[in-house]
Symmetry: C2
Subunit: 553 residues, 2 copies
């Protein structure tokens, strides 16, 4: 997720703090693991129209262990390639060569997740979200040698070092360049490392795992570059991928309790939370994210077996669907985006009509709440309502057998995915409607990996495995072919500079809501795609394997 | 002084380290005094063609104590006026106002010694010296409140804060803005504070004192903004001004011993020294600066009474004139800039012929060495040579009674000033030649305050007090009228953007070699200009007085 547009922000409802839940969350704060990575090679990017970004990495003519012996002066421009995406703190020892450092050295450091970050420059970015996110730093060094330690945490694979100036009397050398990487997942963490049929699927799985790992800090961040914080919609997908990989139940529990600690006075949950300087709810509110808290909690209890938490969170779960229920037409029990309050999201696609999709989300969430009730020994509270809403779902099925939404009978992937996931129809009906939607050229397609995930999950749910794998290979595989080390916030196969914010340089290239292929491949798709090798590996081993494939001589 | 042009740098001679002298220098390293200053007002600069810089400070419509209650967002641009020039470390507490800081805040801080620094911006500076000197910093803040502490020491009166970005959800406030000022001279240091006839001369004296104070750090720096280091030519003038004001003999001794510790194998002294990371001679060499070390040492011993140091430094003094002696024509004993090795400086004025002026410098230096010999009980070694050089000086006096230099018989202020200061001629001859030079429209004029000082000192030496005071009032007074808090590295009354480096934004506006009016006014000019009030004041009191005159309501 990311910042909501200004006009989507509603007035702030008072928070009903639950300090006991906050204490539970605080006690679960992980001690971050730390490890050091060093650059693997010096590169430049040459133009190459056959590449997605139009750029091809060309290694320098010297090995990386000679870096500290090279000297650089005014105007020099160096790109270091660490070979793998990292989140951490950069340091280097700046040394001077020549007569003496007789004027300060000014460096501009740009931390690149993509080749564009380190080739376009960061000047003149036009974007409606804060340009303070841009990953460049200007460093002034009065005297050498000096240990330059960048205080901000950065998220990057490439480091561009622009020597703005030295002086005619000296040049500088870059020694001991390193990144102290951080994550809640350490390098020694072992996980299943299936080898799928076909290298592409295995690579997609690895990139998913790396994406998830780099987003796992003291909370599940949406993106370690931007916005670096916990959004509930992203959390749900991260938690699912995490159950298939790292199985870090404590971090999920911490995040769930953080949300539960800041429920608003009407029982609704904020879409997003700030961890610093102290736990604070964001003013952002999203109806579908709110309702899905029921699913997040039910998933967590089912995966972890932590039934006690389910009991403790039960009142919160009952509250989280209330705002969505306010969107139901009292006469028909059909969701209407024009009723009730709050931002209906589902996807960033402009013009999306949300009613059908949100009907699916709410059904899905109420079923999760009922399931949780069963687990914790409560009477399932939504049984009658589910029956009525299931019946009402029929209003969204057109006579042609596709799902439609709103007065214009809009056909969209969003409506189809969520009505399928909600299992509102017999499997064959749902399957046919979903496939017809995907076959229609006029159907409104997803813009975000978040909705693409739900399309894939829906396909797998109704047994359309081939169609699901095709999308995984095409969409997430497209990012891998384009050079992704981690999956992106947004991906337009036709436009490498597409951005929801007006400028690709403010995009995040390691984004939680695109980490789900590992969940699908290791779950619903596993038997279908075929696993050629099993076994486990540590994250350190997986990283080293990745680096080898990236910087092979 | 400042960086030498590249082609003036000669190959490095090996250093003959004197570690005992280095120890003496180390032991004299001052503990810097520290005090805090806060901004006095928020201002903007309006166009005003009646002002030297074309700008007039206009106070904001709120008092400074309301600063922390004001909020600032993307594109806001604030100038804080501290009311006095300072050298130190800036800090402020950045606070956020609004919903929550949901994107980093990026600030650009520009430290201004002049109104141009904080209005022109620091982009696109074209200069042949390092742009790393430019006094701007880019600060990225992820979370508020945060104490922003700028690590570099800056030299400034104005602080421009440009809010590059916040986000639509929050703005920032600037709280606890302060500068921790540093100098070898503390706020409680008391010194004579004469009130001269006419406010202008008193102001000129105060600005001289402030200039000197801000250059006095762990060495006498040439300029606390640029180059922040010890040049021997500047040291000589600073020491003279210091004997008339702060009387900090220890800091002078430290600097003298630093030079004496790094004499080169031929006995010559580097023009400049680096203090960090360890004491190191610069590769810069200037013949006149080298020879004048004799005068620096003699002045120090005379002012401090430290005869033991004079004895210890005697071999160094004998060495320092040797390279200059190599420029004497063996047949005539006249200085010829084309003989011998090394850069002849005197002034930055292009096209200057140095022979006559350097003849004066060498005579002056040899006389100082002979005087020192007398003080320490050595046989004066240069008596015969002085007689020959005094006779040879006649070659530089034209039949018209002006001093000329080189094959083109160039008439310059430099030649006249130094031949007068060397007392190479009878007083009336010297006086007439100096006044004739000043009266000639074709005479090559000074470019730097360094040479203007020597012109003034020469005028005072031959009793031309009115002419001397006129220059002081016109030249240094011109800077005061233009708004100087400290005297500048270079001042062109006709061009506020003049720079020896191609761009005024790389000029230093607090520069040691322009601090000498205090020496002249409190010395040779004192009886002539008339002192209307005596008494002493602390530096803190003088600063507060200054601030009152600058930011009066």
């Amino acid at each position: 997720m990311a910042d909501a547009p200004e006009d989507m922000v509603e007035s702030v409802l008072p928070t009903r703090w639950n300090r006991e839940f906050e204490k539970v969350a605080d006690a679960l704060c992980p001690q971050l693991h730390k490890w050091t990575r060093t650059p693997q090679r010096v590169i430049k990017f040459d133009k190459d129209d056959s590449q997605y970004f139009g750029l091809r990495a060309v290694p320098a003519d010297f090995p990386i262990d000679q870096l500290a012996s090279k000297t650089w002066g005014r105007g020099d421009d160096i790109i270091l390639d660490f070979g793998v995406h990292m989140v951490g703190f950069l340091s280097l020892r700046l040394e001077s060569r020549g007569a003496h450092i007789d004027a300060p050295c000014r460096l501009r450091l740009t931390f690149g997740e993509s080749p564009l970050d380190v080739t376009l420059g960061m000047d003149g970015v036009q974007t409606w979200i804060g340009t303070g996110w841009l990953p460049d730093e200007v460093v002034n060094v009065d005297m050498c040698p000096e240990l330059v330690s960048v205080r901000r945490r950065h998220s990057f694979r490439y480091l561009r070092v622009q020597v703005v100036d030295t002086s005619p009397k000296y040049k500088v050398a870059l020694a001991d360049v390193r990144c102290e990487c951080v994550s809640a997942v350490g390098q020694s963490h072992a996980l299943d490392a299936p080898r799928f049929h076909g290298d592409l699927l295995t690579a997609i799985d690895r990139v998913s795992v790396a994406t998830l790992r780099d987003c796992m800090q003291t909370v599940f961040e949406d993106g370690p570059r931007r916005d670096r914080r916990l959004w509930s919609g992203d959390l749900r997908l991260q938690a699912l991928a995490n159950y298939s990989t790292f199985k870090d139940y404590a971090l999920v529990k911490r995040c769930i309790y953080q949300f539960a600690a800041v429920v608003r006075e009407d029982g609704s949950l904020p879409a997003c939370i700030f961890e610093h300087p102290r736990l604070t709810p964001s003013t952002d509110y999203i109806v579908d994210y709110d309702a899905l808290f029921a699913a997040i909690t039910n998933d967590y209890v089912a995966a972890s077996g932590d039934v006690a938490a389910g009991r403790e969170l039960w009142p919160t779960v009952l509250g989280c669907v209330r705002r969505a229920l306010g969107h139901l037409d009292p006469a028909t029990h059909a969701y209407d985006e024009k009723l009730g309050e709050g931002w209906n999201f589902l996807d960033w696609q402009p013009g999306l009509e949300h009613s059908a999709g949100e009907h699916g989300v709410l059904l899905y969430s109420l079923k999760a709440a009922n399931a949780l009730a069963g687990t914790i020994g409560e009477e399932p509270p939504f049984t009658d309502l589910l029956a009525r809403m299931t019946e009402a779902a029929g209003r969204f099925l057109s006579s042609e057998g596709v799902f439609v939404s709103g007065p214009e009978a809009q056909v969209s992937y969003a409506s189809a995915a969520w009505l399928v996931l909600a299992e509102a129809f017999p499997r064959e009906t749902a399957r046919a409607a979903l496939l017809k939607t995907l076959a229609r050229p006029d159907a409104l397609r997803p813009l975000t990996p978040y909705l693409w995930h739900h399309v894939c999950d829906a396909l797998a749910t109704v047994g359309c495995f081939d169609e699901c794998v095709d999308i995984v290979k095409d969409y997430w595989g497209g990012m891998v072919r384009a050079g992704a080390d981690t999956f992106w916030e947004c991906y337009d196969p036709k436009d490498p500079r597409a951005s929801p914010y007006g400028d690709v340089r403010n995009n995040s290239f390691c984004h939680a809501w695109s980490c789900t292929p590992a969940y699908l491949l290791r779950g619903k798709l596993r038997d279908h795609v075929g696993v050629e090798g099993t076994g486990s590996a540590t994250m350190g081993e997986l990283d080293e394997d990745w680096i080898r494939t990236q910087v092979a001589p």
